[in-house]
Amino acid sequence: MSGPIFSALFDVLQYQNIFAVMFGVIFGLFIGSTPGLTISLGMVLLLPLTFKMPAVTAVCLLLGLYASGMTGGSISAILLNIPGTPSASATAIDGYAMTQKGKAGPALGTAVVSSFFGGIFGLVCLSLASPLIAKVALRFGAPELFALVLMGLTLICSFGQASIIKALISGVLGLIIMTAGLDPMMGTPRFTFGSVDLQAGISFLPAMIGLFAIPQIILGLSNKIRVIPAYGSRIERILPRFRDLVKLLKTMLIGAGIGTGIGAIPGAGGPIAVFLSYDYARKTSRNSREFGSGTLEGVAAPESANNAVAGGALIPMLTLGIPGDPITAILLGALIIQGLIPGPMLFIQSAQFVYSVFWAFLLANLMNLCLTLSTIRLWVGVLKVPQRILLPIILTLCVVGTFALRNTFFDTGVMLCFGLLAYAMKKYGFPVVPMLLAIILGPQLEEHLRMSLIIAQGDPMIFVKHPISLVFILIAVGSFVSPLIRRRKKVSVDDDECRIDTPR
């Protein structure tokens, strides 16, 4: 048993493989941190190169890109409040808040370390328990996925500190906007006003870039004050303190666990994993009130989750030949072209190769940790660029990046509209994050709901009969109702205080 494990390690530790991982990681960092360039695109561009490589080298290259792409997305989310990848959108909430406090270094450091933790956790699950996890993941059918998405949506309530009604309205508006396009079941055009561009639906990345970046640019234009926080002249700690990391262990475990689990479910996706882990970490944290205002926990939870998703997504790919997300789909393609058919037979016929994949994944995460940690100073240096230069560059990148996603300026228009909407919403006291959540989860909510009912032939009891979906739905209802009740008690006190010092 140990024979193939170690010979696989020697396979991976060839100099060309180490070089491949390094190249993948560097490439991935740039792709991840640039809005509009996706990890999938990076992989597709590298794919033709892999045809001529040995299978192990190909896997090293692609896994390096995968691991660092996830981390790269968080770099721009933390520093500039522009998530480079969808899975980094939850990181932006607390990460950018930390940057505003002048703690960009520790935020990035924590992000990188928890990414590493998440990646390793995913790897451990992948190597020890993949047949079991794959079996459970297959039990996630349409009703289970619907319940999972519903649970994700209840997070909206968490962002209703100022007014829970406004948070809910923001979420419902997001869901309504996402109904435009082709109906997910029948392909009937809805609310498209005859526009074919709208038939493709509003894609989530331009909306996200708009929600986050445009309000900042408006602020910068109108006030000429520094909206992107300057990186102080004093050199601060870059690495998080070791004892801080130990304190974060629980948070990282939560994030990594949720990330691996959701990553393993085909079709669930990374963004839902990061938001669920953010929320769960908040609920189980002692200082949950500080979430959103820049805590290390708020960075660690989603970051460990998004790299654990990578490990999780490899589970169904290797054991069943089913990709867990679009990125592993390309990875699967690369393996098939190499003549390897993932599935149960792979573990028997080419066990050594499977071990090589595990080692390559470990190497990719290690390389990502080292390269990113050692270059944090460079990344943070972006904040030293004067705003009069930085803001125009950001806006240009947003325009070009949204164009690049689907090669159409329609998406740039979408970005602009969402940006203006976000600015107005902020002005009138509507939180923006609920809308973002709704945009991520809305299409899935409807799709899985209707799919379940097609499978059950219109019988709504399907959600109750399936135990997993029942549990999720109960949790969802619970987390929806409990803040309402708690709020009722609190508001009555606040109200009186308000009456005294705010004359109306």
């Binding site: 597709v44 297959l138 059918g141 997910p184 029948m186 392909g187 493709a200 058919i341």
Partner: protein, 322 residues
Amino acid sequence: MKKRNLSYLIIVALTIVFSMGFMPQVSMAEYPTKPVSFLIPFGVGGSADLMGRALAAGAKDTLGQPIVPINRPGAGGGIMYTALNASKADGYSVGWNSTSILTTTNIGNVPFKYTDFENVCRIGYTAMPIAVREDAPWNTLKELIAYAKNNPGKIKIGNAGTGSGTHLTAVMLEKVTDIQVVHVPLGAKRRVPSCLGGEVQVICVPLPEAAPQCLGGQMRLLAVSTANRDPKFPEVPTMKELGYPVVMDLFRGISVPKGTPQNVIQKLVVAFEKGSQDEGFKKIADKKGFNISFQGHDAFEAYLIEQNKNVVESLKLGGLIK
């Protein structure tokens, strides 16, 4: 101080000159004089995308200009066909079509037909098999049909989306055998996991999507939808030879806007025929279970008329158009 100003100026000037060098040259020489856009109707990383990119890479040497893949995903291909339809008919916008050129145009979401394009050539096709889980109780399509006859509404067949080729194949099979099944539009991500997880008993998917599971021994093919048996799975019968008149290919080929000059079309035919024989493309096609079977301009147009008849008929049978 003066010197530094000058050096700044020089850098700026050099950069401008350098970037001008990258701009496409204006000239009236023979087609093609600039890179050709290659529109892919589906997202980055899918089968259509990977094969399209390999084909473009294989055809560019013969064409003499780069062929640049551009993904225009959305609306089941409708976005790409709309963009292609609106492009100039100068041969610099080339579409990588598929059966979706027939389904999207017939279902009525876009205001044009497949005949509003010059359909340059077919590269090849693949089957849309009926697949079940390894431990399913049916060994042949006949047994499955017999079961479905006795248990109307019990069999659920997953497909890639309502109105897609896989859905239409299942609809045709349902109607010619006079059974009653539930069609579940699982979509691209969920079709195989749903079948493995037992949510649906049967799926109809493009062959490449189920091939890894079939080779890995988790799924079985009961029949293929093509006219002839698939070279990769020669033991699997066709629906036609089992006595069910269902013939539906998932084909892929090249289209350009109507009005593209004939000499340009001829050049594209030559280039893409060469591209379909490229080693890189052949390797991907082979692993993806895609049969390379080239058809020139006239043959492809004739083939489309016949395929279109099938599509229209099954859309009517499925109640999607009147």
